[in-house]
């Protein structure tokens, strides 16, 4: 693995225990790709989807702070000027041309933010699931998608969000035509539940592209 020495530009909380880490230099990548991040290359490394756009001046990832984790407690304490290491971006969770639904939970929103900021939002609908109202990171940016941006909140209610789990929304909502693709990003549980639900509703598994967290 090739490691690039990077400088932290900004590290900020965007929701309770969810951080946005921005660093440079910008390594060439395509929206949907990911990087390994490490404090020291020989120590713990983890994969994160890039949340920044292809033309942004720096790279951004978002992460949940896991108090018992080996890396995120260290990442959460970084400040501007700190050194981290990034692998060369890789992966192929790409938004191909054509209409699609983007479906995410939690920090699984990252690749879709990257796609939107890279100008790939045309013909796309974004469905973001979260437990709480504060779970919808970057909602101000996604509001540019108008009614093609849906937030599904399972634990709280508000007039601006759908009350219920993302899978409930998908069960109740008419699905679009057979030419649509579905891109899923989130926990294994969400990806599998959603994929099964879509298949049970007649979507071909060949139209479903999944990104997993591990």
């Amino acid at each position: 693995m090739i490691w690039h020495t990077c400088k932290v530009e900004c590290n900020r909380l965007i929701a309770p225990e969810v951080f946005e880490l921005t660093f440079s230099p910008l390594l060439p990548f395509k929206a949907g790709q990911m990087v390994h991040i490490a404090i020291e290359p020989k120590n713990t490394k983890r994969l994160y989807s890039l949340a920044s756009g292809e033309n942004d001046p720096a790279m951004t990832v978002i992460f949940d702070l896991r108090q018992s984790g080996q890396l995120t407690p260290l990442l959460s304490r970084l400040s501007a000027g700190s050194t981290i290491y990034s692998s060369t971006p890789h992966g192929s969770f790409f938004a191909k041309p054509g209409p699609a639904w983007w479906i995410a939970t939690g920090t699984g929103i990252a690749p879709f933010r990257s796609m939107l900021r890279s100008g790939l939002g045309e013909d796309k609908k974004l469905i973001h699931g979260g437990r709480f109202l504060e779970s919808f990171y970057y909602s101000e940016e996604f509001k540019s998608m108008g009614n093609q941006y849906v937030r599904c909140c399972s634990q709280q209610q508000h007039e601006s969000v759908y009350a219920g789990r993302l899978t409930k929304y998908l069960q109740e909502t008419p699905l679009p035509g057979k030419d649509y693709s579905y891109y899923l990003c989130g926990s294994a549980e969400m990806v599998v539940d959603t994929r099964d639900l879509l298949i049970s509703r007649g979507v071909s598994f060949e139209k479903i592209v999944s990104e997993i967290y591990f």
Binding site: H36, G106, E189, V192, F205, S210, E211
Partner: protein
């Protein structure tokens, strides 16, 4: 614990460092059930150990037996840690298929374990416990890490368990009796190849990356051609083996085109292809191939110089066959969805 971990713990307890080796012998050679039985350690030392540790043996809480003799054991390894292991006796061998995680993060379309999401990593001790607590332990000839979970997503614990199983101070098994399966997490696979001598099995399921992506989300992260490049870097000319697991799905990956591409991509790798019958899971859009096509597929691969065998399906009636292990019903009672 490994020998170095036991030695460290012995020192922390005020015992001489060599006590670590004594403890290893009691645990892994003499299989004692209590610290009290470690009679070459001083009474005071044993008392300190008892205050800090327990042996941690957890016998299976449930067993199901198949008409073909396969047994599926349920282990409760700790809070919320329900895992299954499949004991598969055969004419001259007995294999145990162990789990490395509770659930799985990989979300493969054809796998029952993936349907329960991911709940927890197993520790090395919890992996070894599946072997240590097996009623048929003495009959085992082989262990395969092909149960619940992706072993190389828990590579540190898996490597520690392999160290315990294969070291002279441990179970002293030959690494050639153990196979670790992976879907191809490349950094961990390289680490495994460097640190262990056990066999490697790679879940392939399609030679075409676009098709594999639809079956296995990992293809979006680590591409098949990269996995094969990493495999080719390793010297397989000695006793260590690499094999490729290939579930044959009807109308999907069982055509002459797939045979030709398999031959092409595996060229230069001394390996075996294990063809596996698909065991349908609820709601699956996939179906198994027919027996005639399966045999044709195998024969054509062999004719073209790729060693291929068809794996016998075992324990299907008790959901112990490949891809069917799951503790979803138990875990779903006690967990809330994370979204």
């Amino acid at each position: 614990m490994t020998l170095s971990q036991l030695s460290d713990k012995a020192l922390e307890a005020g015992l001489p460092k060599f006590a670590g080796k004594q403890i290893a012998e009691w645990l892994y050679k003499k299989h004692v059930a209590s610290i009290d039985e470690m009679t070459n350690i001083s009474i005071k030392g044993r008392k300190i150990l008892q205050e800090r540790f327990e042996i941690g043996i957890k016998p299976p809480v449930k067993v199901q037996t198949s008409v073909d003799g396969t047994k599926k054991y349920l282990f409760v390894q700790g809070e919320m840690k329900f895992v299954e292991a499949a004991y598969i006796p055969d004419a001259d061998r007995a294999t145990l298929c162990v789990s490395s995680q509770v659930g799985c993060k990989m979300g493969c379309l054809f796998c029952m374990t993936g349907k329960q999401g991911f709940q927890a990593q197993l520790t090395a001790g919890e992996i070894v416990n599946q072997i240590r607590s097996l009623p048929e332990r003495q009959t085992l000839t082989n262990v395969v890490y092909m149960g619940m979970g992706e072993p190389l997503d828990n590579v540190d614990a898996v490597l520690q368990s392999l160290e315990i199983l294969t070291s002279e101070w441990g179970y002293a098994w030959s690494p050639k009796r153990i196979t670790v399966s992976t879907i191809g997490i490349i950094p961990a696979m390289r680490h495994f190849l460097e640190k262990s001598d056990c066999h490697l099995a790679i879940s392939l399921h399609s030679p075409f990356e676009d098709e594999r992506r639809k079956l296995m989300p990992i293809e979006n992260v680590y591409h098949l051609h990269q996995i094969l490049e990493a495999v080719k870097e390793y010297d397989w000319t000695h006793q260590r083996r690499v094999s490729f697991e290939y579930i044959v799905f009807g109308g999907l990956n069982d055509t002459p085109r797939h045979i030709n591409e398999l031959v092409r991509i595996l060229s230069g790798i001394r390996c075996r292809v294990n063809l596996i019958r698909f065991h349908p899971i609820p709601g699956t859009p996939l179906q198994g191939t027919d027996e005639q096509t399966l045999q044709y597929f195998k024969n054509r691969l062999n004719e073209k110089g790729v060693l291929a065998t068809v794996r016998a399906s075992r324990g299907q009636d008790i959901y112990a066959a490949c891809g069917l292990l799951s503790t979803k019903e138990i875990t779903s009672i006690q967990t809330n969805t994370d979204y």
